[in-house]
Symmetry: C2
């Protein structure tokens, strides 16, 4: 599927509602569970999404749109949430994510992006030249990937509890 701005935004605006529907009010036994050392719980994943919302997508899009001399993105800190979310409840993180996401989508709508702008380029510190369209498509896919991850992390808590059904549940082992 080609990237389509309206379709992409339809997903981006749903993500805060999806995360709230999945996680708000759930016992910590679910929201603090992970897949073992070095893996992320739903709480950590929401913190990661919030950090990206504050520092990554819009900042990079603005850098591309400006087409200034410096088009190289600042590297994204994949561990920032463990510092920034410390002591914060999942409910707080969900509310803040919803607020910042709404602001960011308002910003995008004020840009009234054209096809020509979606083809403008920036430079990813590791991946090299990327377009604004690819950045926005990645924003969407990144949301979806982490929603899938939250659901998988939770499902795997019942890896043993499901007994022999484990063989029929691809989410457990694949």
């Amino acid at each position: 599927m080609d990237f389509d701005l309206a379709h992409g935004i339809a997903v981006l605006e749903r993500t805060p509602h999806t995360l709230r529907a999945m996680l708000a009010g759930l016992p910590p036994a679910w929201t603090d569970a992970d897949e073992g050392p070095g893996t992320w719980s739903p709480w950590a994943i929401v913190g990661h999404l919030l950090h990206g919302e504050r520092t990554d997508w819009i900042v990079r899009a603005e850098l591309i749109l400006a087409q200034g001399a410096e088009r190289r993105f600042t590297p994204f800190d994949r561990e920032a949430q463990f510092r920034e979310s410390r002591g914060r409840s999942l409910g707080e993180l969900l509310d803040e994510f919803a607020a910042v996401r709404a602001e960011n989508l308002k910003t995008v709508s004020t840009w009234r992006l054209t096809g020509a702008q979606l083809a403008l380029m920036g430079e990813h510190p590791d991946l090299g030249p990327v377009t604004l369209g690819q950045l926005l498509a990645t924003w969407v896919a990144h949301d979806l990937g982490h929603v899938a991850q939250i659901s998988r992390v939770m499902a795997r808590q019942y890896r043993d509890a499901v007994g022999p059904w484990r063989a029929y549940l691809p989410v457990m082992d694949r």
Copy 2:
């Protein structure tokens, strides 16, 4: 994590809201998309969840609880949704799923299940002896697996659109 009835129900009661938040009102470009021949779209997955809700979980739980002479489950039809959902909109399926799920959880609450009942056994046509607790844990994990699948199927529509970021998005290829 051991199966805990209250924790399991906390997930089961959220799933209809999660599916609505993710999918209600999305363009068919998202909800009818799949991962290729023989794979399922979000529309097909919601139909599958609805079919399970009508024919599988509660029916099997009742068979176990009755502890009659016949404790062998009827095999589940994994393709039923392509017959039963034909011509039905995703919105209809989401509404019906929410209604049947709510009924089913009401039924479960009237059972006031004890630990001894959760250890009662039935017989899966392929997997052999299984407990009521394993069945209920599987109901939860099955929901979560399909929420993860919907999100993955959608993410993969942007496999090409994300350009070089594909290498950083495990959801695309793993």
